[in-house]
């Protein structure tokens, strides 16, 4: 019987479309998020470069002239997949031009921000810029973390937008540890942390802040990782802990257990399968996969 992680890689490879690119399930439209995640996973797993070249090229089809990467030209406001595409292109020595255009786009754009005049309603500093899910809306933890990861991977760790985004992420950290999707306190109530948001934030903050500033969040992530076996949360928790050199010793077993849950839930989509493969092969976190290039 095939090792579960090997089976996952084989499933992923079988989902690649003939013309390059990946869809959510192997059938249907090629999607830039699924494609980016698959490239990252296959890169982490050490798949031969020529197997992903046409897929890297396919990703360019989703790029707009201004550099953003979108699901469809008519949906240009939904550009959160852009940092994932940057990371995917970082796995190759080619594709420098689309990668740079995407980076320039990210540096020139942010979410909607304002001075918070009602801190009794929303507790966080709404003026600190990050990146949104959708153009024209506020910045939240997950899209901001992805952008920070992409810009760090591109060598822009010292850029002022990265520094401001790191401040923003720290400002959104919950007092009790962890991150919500992006709020902290609303109408006086501190919100609950969310595992995947926490894992992404920890990944983004790697090397940017002192460990003591996120100690409680690391504790929360370690506790949750020992309990959760669903793919998105588990992957990001393991990646976040790995980024801070405290990857759980049983991480690979937990990933195998998560893959095993497909018997119950059905086959995971391409992004989820890829996230698990990436977490399996990236003991030092998300950025370590790109540093190897």
């Amino acid at each position: 019987m095939l090792n579960p992680i090997k089976g996952a890689i084989e499933t992923l490879l079988n989902r690649e479309h003939d013309e390059g690119g990946f869809s959510a399930t192997g059938e249907g439209l090629i999607q830039p998020d699924a494609t980016s995640w698959a490239i990252l996973a296959l890169s982490a797993a050490g798949t031969e470069k020529n197997k992903t070249h046409k897929t890297l090229a396919k990703l360019v089809d989703f790029q707009q002239p201004d550099g953003r990467v979108v699901f469809a030209p008519r949906l240009s406001s939904v550009y959160w997949v852009t940092p994932l595409a940057v990371c995917a292109w970082m796995t190759s020595l080619e594709f420098k031009e689309p990668r740079q255009k995407a980076i320039d786009f990210l540096l020139a754009h942010s979410g909607f921000h304002w001075e918070n005049e009602t801190p009794e309603i929303v507790g966080h500093d709404t003026s600190l810029r990050g990146w949104p899910w959708v153009s024209g809306t506020h910045s939240w933890i997950e899209p901001t973390s992805l952008c920070v990861l992409a810009l760090q991977a591109a060598g822009l760790k010292e850029h002022k937008r990265v520094a401001e985004a790191v401040d923003m992420i720290l400002n959104r950290q919950l007092n009790s540890g962890g991150w919500n999707y992006g709020n902290t306190v609303v109408f006086g109530s501190q919100l609950w942390p969310i595992p995947e948001s926490t894992g992404m934030a920890l990944s983004a903050l790697e090397g940017c802040v002192l460990k003591q500033r996120i100690a409680q969040s690391l504790g929360y992530a370690a506790e949750e990782a020992s309990l959760i076996r669903t793919p998105l949360s588990l992957s990001w928790l393991i990646l976040g802990l790995g980024a801070w050199s405290i990857r759980p010793a049983l991480a690979r077993e937990w990933i195998q257990e998560s893959l095993d849950r497909q018997k119950q839930y059905g086959e995971y989509n391409t992004s989820l399968l890829s996230a698990l493969i990436l977490a399996y092969y990236a003991p030092r976190g998300f950025l370590s996969v790109l540093e190897q290039e």
Binding site: R74, T137, V186, F187, I194, L232
Partner: protein
């Protein structure tokens, strides 16, 4: 026996064809909306059923079947149809049954529609705060109660989508992106939770349909819709997706700082109806809230359905018999002045 009313007016088109018209056609679809449904304040009364339910351990299937029959849902209407049940799973936390629609209510709804001969019954949700759909299922108890019984489940946040014309006029959104599972469903059921909400005042059957909008394109927590206006978006989504039935879980609801951080409130009711504004208005009255003070209900009244008491026929329990005032918070602007 079914009463006439906005959502009970019987279009000659199917729900799917109605929405599909929005895909291909512009003005024609809007004209269809105006002609078929609800363009005028309804004169006839619509019925809403209130069941007294002391706990989730009661025979919820029999309670639902009785309620459905009372409001005119029949085997003839449901037989052979694809049904999608949309619970409220905005942000589950283990042991916090007051946040989400209880899985046993959804299970009873699945069994009820199977009893009525539905060709398929799927549970679909696009959780508002969490992207990890499987964790949402596990944390809310749905994996144990539903998934392990083989009941199909779909993450509406990541489903493929179709752009349809926005058939409402409250926001400036010209089109809505709807998950294909919503497009394919003949019958969409909002299986909502009875809660206060710190932005919308209340969240009931109509607000619950925020969760059909895919996060992949609207963000988490549905940022585009918040920007377009919560009340306005509620009206437009409901006008466009044409939901068939509302079931509101008020056995244990939430008062105070809903939709997440409030406290459990036992209202001990299930409220069922075909007309969503009528159902939500009835729920609001049970919660001790004046529905005419809720902007989306005020806006929906006369357009999507009735909210005045005299236009709604109450079946089952009387409102005054089950009314239990939900605690409002003075420091939350959306709660001020809501008390009935």
């Amino acid at each position: 026996m079914e009463k006439t009313g906005p959502s009970q007016c019987k279009p000659t088109w199917s729900r799917r064809r109605f929405i599909r018209t929005g895909v291909i056609g512009g003005a024609g679809a809007y004209a269809a909306l105006a002609g078929l449904c609800c363009s005028k304040t309804p004169k006839a009364r619509t019925s809403t059923f209130i069941a007294s339910v002391k706990s989730y351990q009661e025979d919820l299937l029999q309670i639902l079947l009785r309620g459905l029959r009372e409001i005119g849902v029949s085997k003839e209407a449901v037989g052979g149809k694809r049904v999608l049940l949309k619970p409220n799973l905005v942000e589950p936390h283990l042991g916090s049954a007051h946040i989400n629609t209880h899985p046993l209510v959804v299970l009873a709804a699945v069994e009820a529609f199977n009893h009525f001969g539905a060709s398929s019954v799927v549970v679909g949700e696009g959780a508002g705060h969490y992207r990890d759909f499987f964790w949402v299922l596990e944390e809310s108890g749905y994996t144990d109660v539903l998934v392990r019984k083989g009941i199909p489940h779909i993450d509406l946040n990541t489903d493929s989508v179709t752009a349809v014309q926005n058939l409402g006029t409250a926001t400036k959104l010209r089109a809505l992106l709807l998950p294909d599972e919503i497009m394919k469903a003949d019958i969409l059921v909002s299986v909502a939770k009875m809660k206060l909400h710190h932005w919308a005042g209340v969240t009931l059957s109509m607000k619950n349909l925020f969760g059909v909008m895919p996060g992949k394109y609207y963000g988490w927590p549905k940022n585009t819709l918040h920007l377009a206006g919560i009340h306005e978006s509620i009206m437009d989504i409901n006008a466009t997706v044409k939901p068939y039935l509302a079931i509101v879980d008020g056995v244990v609801g939430m008062e105070g700082d809903g939709p997440i951080m409030g406290t459990a409130k036992e209202a001990n009711v299930l409220v069922i109806g075909r007309n969503f504004p009528a159902v939500d208005a009835t729920c609001a009255r049970i919660m001790g809230i004046d529905p005419r003070k809720i902007p989306y209900l005020k806006g929906a009244g006369g357009l999507l359905g009735p909210v005045t008491e005299e236009e709604i026929e109450q079946r089952g329990e009387l409102i005054k018999a089950v009314r239990t005032d939900f605690e409002l918070m003075e420091d939350i602007p959306a709660h001020r002045g809501l008390r009935l």
